[in-house]
């Protein structure tokens, strides 16, 4: 009998597949506005929520979602308000978050294994966890796909979106909260410290070969899903760390596609030598600088 006949393996597969599908769907917006690492920071903050949950004997997933959402909105306020000191404020928030989590869990004097939150523990996903993951995953997809034109506009050119009359601040808060929900949905399957990889790596892989935003989003979701499934299928029988296997598989895909894309470019160049790149003739450039 295959080990995938066991319910815990099915939950592991489904939970990780949902993370693989949702993380890049949200992550593409973070990559678009050059906030690739923000998911990692929110993961740090979520650990304080886990700590509070353990200490109060309440659901760590629920409290992690609440604390991560508060943290994500704080990050958004810092991003909006400050241009120069934002960096330091984020560092304080993130390291405060992870220290708070470790501190509170230790204070609880329980045998809770922090590693299962930091790096995922898909084989121990319970019925209640599974239900939460399915509901939150559906909500993430509804936001990322349903609001795509508006989120795209805000992440592509925030000033333009403001002048176009879009509710920029509301949309930014929607992105922040969805980031927090994505992080905590992924907490049980691939872990708070690894989720950011699935937000960024499949997008980076997809954009090597795609030409538009819609196609990049679709391909990155397929790659994320494939990484999630492959990671569990590989790690199950071979008993490797599931979260790490998923991420390493995603990175391997990136390397294969990057090498393939580079090879294709080189092959094209050799086939069509001497064709110059399309550019404006420099002698008709009238002015380079114009800011005032």
């Amino acid at each position: 009998m295959s080990i995938f006949a066991y319910q815990f393996m099915q939950y592991a597969l489904l939970g990780t597949a949902i993370t693989g599908l949702t993380a890049p769907a949200l992550g593409i917006y973070l990559v678009q506005r050059r906030l690739s690492l923000i998911g990692d920071g929110i993961g740090h903050v979520a650990l304080t929520g886990v700590g509070i949950g353990v200490l109060m004997n309440k659901s760590p997933v629920l409290l992690a979602t609440l604390v991560a959402a508060l943290g994500a909105v704080a990050v958004e306020i810092i991003r909006e308000r400050s241009r120069t000191s934002g960096d330091i404020a984020l560092a304080i928030l993130f390291y405060g978050g992870i220290s708070g989590g470790v501190f509170l869990v230790a204070l609880s004097r329980t045998s809770v294994n922090l590693n299962s939150f930091l790096f995922g523990s898909p084989l121990t996903i319970s019925d209640a966890d599974m239900a939460t993951i399915v509901v939150l995953g559906a909500a993430i997809l509804a936001v990322c796909l349903g609001l795509r034109p508006w989120l795209f506009a805000v992440c592509q050119d925030e000033e333009y979106a403001k002048v176009a009359g879009l509710p920029v601040r509301t949309l930014n808060v929607v992105i922040a909260i969805t980031t927090a929900v994505t992080v905590t949905t992924a907490m049980r399957s691939i872990g708070l410290l690894l989720v950011s990889a699935l937000m960024v790596v499949p997008v980076a892989t997809a954009q090597l070969v795609t030409r538009g935003f819609g196609s990049t989003m679709a391909l990155s979701m397929v790659l994320g899903l494939a990484s999630g499934v492959a990671g569990i299928v590989i790690s199950g029988p071979s008993d490797t760390a599931p979260g790490a296997t998923v991420v390493l598989f995603a990175i391997a895909l990136f390397l294969v596609v990057a090498i393939g894309a580079a090879g294709r470019r080189a092959w094209r160049r050799r086939r069509m030598p001497g064709e110059p790149a399309h550019c404006d003739p420099p002698d008709v450039l009238l002015s380079q600088e114009g800011r005032s």
Partner: protein, 254 residues
């Protein structure tokens, strides 16, 4: 009500920190006007239109859009903004069609796109001569084609007033011609324009009124003044000392 003034700035003052950039500037754009805001680098001309769009707060004076004070103005689809350049989007590719469609969202509201919306996007891309590049990533376009993409994005919302920040900076001659034609079509269709420029190039014939900003104040209002000094020479090398100490009149005609 027939609104004849689409944009009015009265004694606008803007300061970045302690440094005043605009020191009491007046600007009026009437329906059908094509107003060029001219001046040297650092004169405050871009700041003026950014303030008019609400992107930079005024520390004094007032701004009205279509007869409504800026802080109460909500009819943003009547306005089309064309920034200096397209952001990189973090390396995530976006096609010309996707970028231009973003310009329709203000009109479209939260509803799914109708055929009317899709037609407006297509017409805007046609107007700037990029129909054959609709599915191409904007990163593969030349600077001039990217600028035309931004114009199309603004046109997709079917605005009544176009506000352009340095539309001709670093743009090749062929693109400038297409650009001037698209702007001319917009004006003939009843639109009004306010544009910031360092030099006018093929746009010069469209301009109805010029405002010259020098060192944060209006130095000239009226018709486009003739090029002064060595600027009259079409081959002059385009290097300006920065204000203050520079005479107003730093632009050229082709």
């Amino acid at each position: 009500m027939f609104v004849t003034t689409v944009l009015r700035v009265r004694h606008g003052v803007v300061a970045y920190g302690e440094r005043p950039v605009l020191r009491g500037v007046d600007l009026t754009v009437h329906t059908g006007d094509v107003v060029a805001i001219l001046g040297a680098n650092g004169s405050g001309k871009s700041t003026l239109i950014r303030a008019a769009l609400g992107l930079v707060p005024l520390s004094g004076g007032e701004i009205e859009l279509f007869g409504t004070p800026l802080r109460r103005f909500r009819q943003w689809p009547r306005l089309g903004y064309v920034p200096q350049r397209l952001g990189a989007g973090g390396g995530v590719p976006a096609t010309v069609g996707e970028v231009v469609a973003a310009g329709r969202l203000g009109r479209r509201g939260w509803k799914p796109a109708t055929r009317r919306d899709r037609e407006a996007v297509r017409a805007a891309i046609d107007a700037v001569g990029l129909a054959d590049r609709t599915k191409d990533p904007v990163s593969t376009l030349s600077g001039g084609q990217q600028q035309r993409t931004l114009i199309a994005r603004a046109l997709a919302g079917e605005p009544e007033l176009l506000i352009l920040d340095e539309p001709t900076a670093g743009v090749d001659a062929a693109s400038q011609e297409t650009f001037a034609k698209a702007l001319g079509d917009f004006v003939h269709g009843g639109g009004s324009v306010a544009l910031v420029a360092h030099e006018l190039g093929p746009l010069a014939s469209l301009i109805t009124n010029a405002v010259v900003i020098h060192d944060g104040v209006v130095a000239h209002t009226g018709p486009v003044p003739p090029p002064a000094g060595h600027h009259a020479d079409p081959d002059h090398d385009h290097v300006h000392p920065h204000a203050p100490g520079t005479a107003p009149g730093l632009w050229e005609r082709p």
